[in-house]
Symmetry: C2
Subunit: 217 residues, 2 copies
DNA sequence: ATTATTTTTTAGGTTAGTCTAAATTTAATA
DNA sequence: TATTAAATTTAGACTAACCTAAAAAATAAT
């Protein structure tokens, strides 16, 4: 069984590996965990002994099948709790993350299944990210980042990549919530900024912002 | 700020001291925490440095005013979560304790206040124990243990002292839930067992059981 | 009141997770 | 290709929370 800290490392590795598709380097993991490379080396040795990652010295780590299941279980809990906080307790979109980081480590399958039921078996969390089911399966949603959309095209916001609180507040202000339709009404090729339309309102956003918004078409 | 372990020690001390009214000895605390006396000595030194308990070598510990506030804050969280688990997620009475032991350590005042509101500001938890308010005040309920009731007298169950799962299951089976009225229909003085009536049903219980049931008259 | 027993504390050691500083390996550059 | 730079690992040390075994203090018993 994984400790709280091990769970956090594994989750970070899973995310950095983009769902287990690429390997993760020591330094990027250290950065993500706000810790030092030496500490990361210690930890990945432990995780590798527990067979949730595979590790080749100097060449980074990869998530194993077991590790992927474990990571998705933590992610499932995180996203169900976020949904609970927003839907039932009236948290705003940008307040949930920190608390969900703690709640995701509560150990009880019974609890999480009951919570799932209480929430009506939601498919996505308040950020629009898909919630894995009890067996670790995710309903795949083909999605692209907004900056890839051409002028005139539209999509529905499904998620926001970055969980930076300032970005979330900004998006909230311009009405860019998951579920909302976005239309690209103009595009400047030289800096890749764009004008978008949400509801009836038109807003100008830079590529820094648009690349963090995910949409389905 | 207290660590998770420190919070657990403090809570145990608070309970063993019966709300801060008597001092707690090293060995009883070791017993309660399922640990060794030496470990307890280490910990009470730490807690005493943090001013949540006062400690005199060889003569046990006492909860300070600060410590009482801290302990009540943890107890508030525990009891609100237990209420949530039973009322909203449909946990049975005897399933809640273990999970609430984990949930009580989640750090967020915002969360616990919102939860309180969501539950409709309950005054007691599913075991009938009073829930402290945000300032650590408890609405005092004068209560006695059932074994002190004389034949012919009756009371309303408010709480169960022991949280032993087998006891809780047994009480559930005979219908002895908080809120239920109990009448003492017979009493054997030599072993202090008694016959009680819950609803229309009569049951025989030993002193071991009756001393764990708290009632208000 | 001296001895025996129980309780508590001290001393020294372990593991998890972290750190700094030094050593090693890989990658980049001249 | 030899050298420099960057990334990674090792070595050794720290704190929190635990342990066992031995020492010390308080309590009980003769």
């Amino acid at each position: 069984m994984l400790s709280l800290t091990e769970e956090n490392y594994l989750k970070a590795i899973y995310h950095l590996s983009e769902g287990g598709t690429k390997s993760v380097l020591t330094n990027e993991l250290a950065e993500a965990m706000s810790t030092k490379a030496a500490s990361v080396t210690d930890m990945i040795k432990k995780l590798s002994l527990k067979d949730v990652i595979s590790y080749e010295k100097y060449y980074g780590v990869n998530v194993t099948a077991t590790g992927k299941t474990e990571a998705l279980s933590v992610i499932r809990k995180h996203r169900l709790w976020e949904t609970f906080l927003v839907q039932k307790l009236g948290f705003t979109w940008d307040e949930v993350h920190e608390v969900a980081e703690q709640l995701e480590h509560i150990r009880s399958i019974h609890l999480i299944d009951k919570l799932d039921e209480f929430l009506g078996f939601p498919k996505v969390d308040p950020h629009g990210d898909p919630i894995p089911d009890g067996k670790g399966k995710i309903k795949a949603q083909p999605q692209v980042s907004l900056d890839q959309l051409k002028e005139g095209y539209q999509g529905t916001i499904t998620a926001v990549k970055d969980s930076d609180s300032n970005l979330l507040k900004y998006l909230d202000k311009i009405g860019a919530k998951p579920g909302k339709k976005i239309k690209v009404t103009g595009k400047e090729e030289y800096d890749e900024s764009m004008e978008i339309q949400i509801d009836e309102k038109k807003v100008f956003i830079s590529k820094d912002v648009s690349k963090n918004i995910l949409v389905t078409q």
